[in-house]
Amino acid sequence: MRILHGSRWPGCPHPGGRASLARLRAQRSWAGEGTRPCIFIALPFLFLLTVFGQDSPGSRRPSVTLLPNEVVSVARGHSGTVELIFRIPPGFHINSNVPHQEYLKKTELKLDAPTDIVVRKITYPDGEDRSFPFAPQEKINVYSGDFTVTVVVRPLKTVLPTKYAVHGRLKYQACDNAACYPPREAPVTFEVRVTKASSETRHKNTPQSPHTHP
């Protein structure tokens, strides 16, 4: 803020709010006599920013993360859908689940569900066909930003109604515009609250004969 509104550096606009800045502007041109030293003081800082602020391959590690997800309630014996939203850091992309090139590593969710929770289907979003500076003629099917993988789970009819954690990992391989990073795995955990089916509840509320329950 100080730099925006003025600073105490010699030759730079002095702090004192918009009024003094406006006065200075009226007195001096942008690159006029008064502001020249300011420009030359700022240049070394710009230089340092340019050299050390440059993103070289590997200066940032691409880590795909699972965004916090809500607990999904699923009646036992029925199917429920869980949406898992993953986030890829800006500047990176990962191959989709169906990359066009056979040798590319596809993004894949592997789940180790509890024995009584069946993972019925995992659906991946369509990737985006993109060209990159390293292969301008080639289209690569990728995910970038946020993408959602849906998982259909079905608790067995016999499972105890309670909350279950499903663990797994998302296998992916990321690249930026110039380099690729070794395949990695992101930990995945989501919870499923198994409830009794409504038909079960109705059945339980049915009045019973006093002979069966003395």
């Binding site: 690159a31 340019t50 602020g53 993103d55 070289s56 590319l104």
Partner: protein
């Protein structure tokens, strides 16, 4: 508002030069401290198995300018460089260049060999190991290329894909070195 055009031009030129310098410096991995340590040092020697089952050592190429390229079949930018390396090996091979590929891959040797054959690779490729990557400061992203002088010192290293002309320029620098007299 008056603006001194000379000052503006000078500022624009300085900023442009700084940007170019900054990008070059970043590409050469100035922030990667691990691989910095081996610059101008003897290239760490290693022994690995080639795709045709032979045992190859880096020191086998002593006296040659070596372009040591860490790559993988899943690395798209690596695939762009490989035909360049093939051409450059043909062009500079007679002058003493040796391109040497290290596949940092979890694919089988046969898959790597098939891939290399498709790419028309005319230089030796060995199956890499994590330890070898560690010797070179930890190869955490691909492609990673090291230029080694005729007397076996690491002249430069480049991370990520760069232009063919930059690769060629680095090769010429490596070729211009002399073998140290024993």
């Amino acid at each position: 508002m008056k603006r001194d055009p000379v000052i503006l031009i000078v500022v624009a030129m300085v900023v442009s030069i700084m940007l170019i310098f900054g990008i070059q410096k970043a590409r050469h991995g100035s922030t990667s401290s691990g691989s910095n340590k081996i610059l101008n040092q003897p290239a760490p020697d290693f022994t690995l198995t080639s795709l045709d089952g032979k045992t190859l050592k880096l020191s086998d190429f002593h006296g040659k300018a070596v372009l040591l390229n860490f790559w993988a079949t899943w690395c798209e930018p690596c695939k762009i460089e490989m035909p360049w390396f093939v051409d450059l090996q043909k062009k500079y091979g007679p002058q003493g260049l040796q391109v040497f590929g290290v596949a940092m891959d979890d694919a089988s040797p046969k898959e790597i060999a098939d891939f290399a054959q498709k790419m028309g690779v005319n230089y030796p490729i060995v199956i890499g190991k994590e330890e070898v990557g560690t010797l070179y400061g930890g190869v955490q992203y691909l492609p990673s290329t090291f230029y080694i002088s005729r007397d076996g010192k690491v002249l430069d290293r480049v991370f990520g894909l760069v232009s063919r002309s930059e690769i060629e320029s680095n090769i010429q620098k490596a070729l211009s070195t002399q073998v140290a007299e024993k």
